[in-house]
Symmetry: C2
Subunit: 188 residues, 2 copies
């Protein structure tokens, strides 16, 4: 590692690899200040955002990993393992431990795929749906409160902002996921 470090340090060429923004920032001095402030605000906002759910999950002996799985299964009933792995960006081994617990605890159930029987389609049980809803309620309550606090003009900006924060290559995927989840919700 030290050699990597040394390499990095002794690497004025690295400057070229930097986003020119770094150079600009250095020149501009505090021009970066605002962006840095956003970096920290994002950190604090996310910390508090997940904190709500964490506290509720403790009562069930679950963690954030369970929350994510339950959330996406609930949002998109019939989700396959592969699709879930793709959303969460974790390995199947990692997912498996958490998913197994959710299955055994009766919060999620898996049915064999109809069109492709190798697939396991994941559905929330009524119990799972309830917990998912409670968790979502906490988090969307925070968003609603935020929207109330915000000047009306700023309200629509939040989702635009968050969407723009996503890797551009990922946006279509996310958009499709949202549309799909919305359809599932609307269908009922």
């Amino acid at each position: 590692m030290d050699e990597l470090v040394a390499k990095k340090i002794s690497e004025p060429p690295g400057v070229a690899a930097w986003p020119n923004t770094a150079a600009e920032a250095a020149v501009a001095g505090d021009g970066d200040g605002d962006a840095l402030e956003l970096v920290e605000l994002f950190f604090f906002a996310y910390r508090d955002f997940v904190g709500d759910a964490d506290r509720l999950l403790e009562n069930y002996g679950f963690g954030r990993a369970h929350h994510r799985v339950l959330h996406f299964v609930n949002r998109r009933p019939g989700l396959t393992i592969a699709a879930l792995l793709d959303i969460l960006r974790i390995t199947k081994q990692s997912l498996n431990r958490v998913l197994k617990q959710l299955l055994e605890a009766g919060f999620v159930e898996a049915r064999a795929g109809v069109v492709d029987r190798r697939q396991r389609l994941l559905y929330p049980t009524p119990q799972g749906a309830t917990l998912a809803r409670d968790l979502a309620a906490l988090q969307s309550a925070r968003f609603r409160k935020v929207m109330d606090e915000l000047p009306p003009a700023a309200r629509g900006a939040a989702s635009k902002f968050l969407f723009a924060m996503i890797d551009s290559g990922e946006r279509e995927r996310v958009r499709a996921h949202l549309a799909c989840a919305k359809a599932a919700g609307a269908a009922t």
Copy 2:
């Protein structure tokens, strides 16, 4: 993504099984739908946001924990252990492991407090400051790109939005931190 869509389509049986929750969500009002969308956007946005830094940190054998410590030490040189623990909300044992590595690798240095010699005041070394700046550059570059993509009217909204997302009891603390960091930054 295509597979997601395909699977979704080939899934009429799932529809029947669809959730009570979704139903309830629909009943609970679609105001929730928007909030739910924000919840997921926040998840994806944060995932990609930290991803940038993660990739750079790998070159140094560091993880997110090191990043957070280095970041705040760099933003607020002279930070005490207690202040850092308060920001990060972790235990001293957890901090210690990471901090020790940063100290040993020469990215951070600790000096005895002047007014209170029990305290260890943390400072970035030149090496640490460089890495911190590189990491920050990646992340603020993302923010700047986002701002460029956003309609001008929405730009100011981002920091208001993020600030409103923070626990109300924490906002003063965060505001103070930002002010302090800004002052420290101005010195450089």
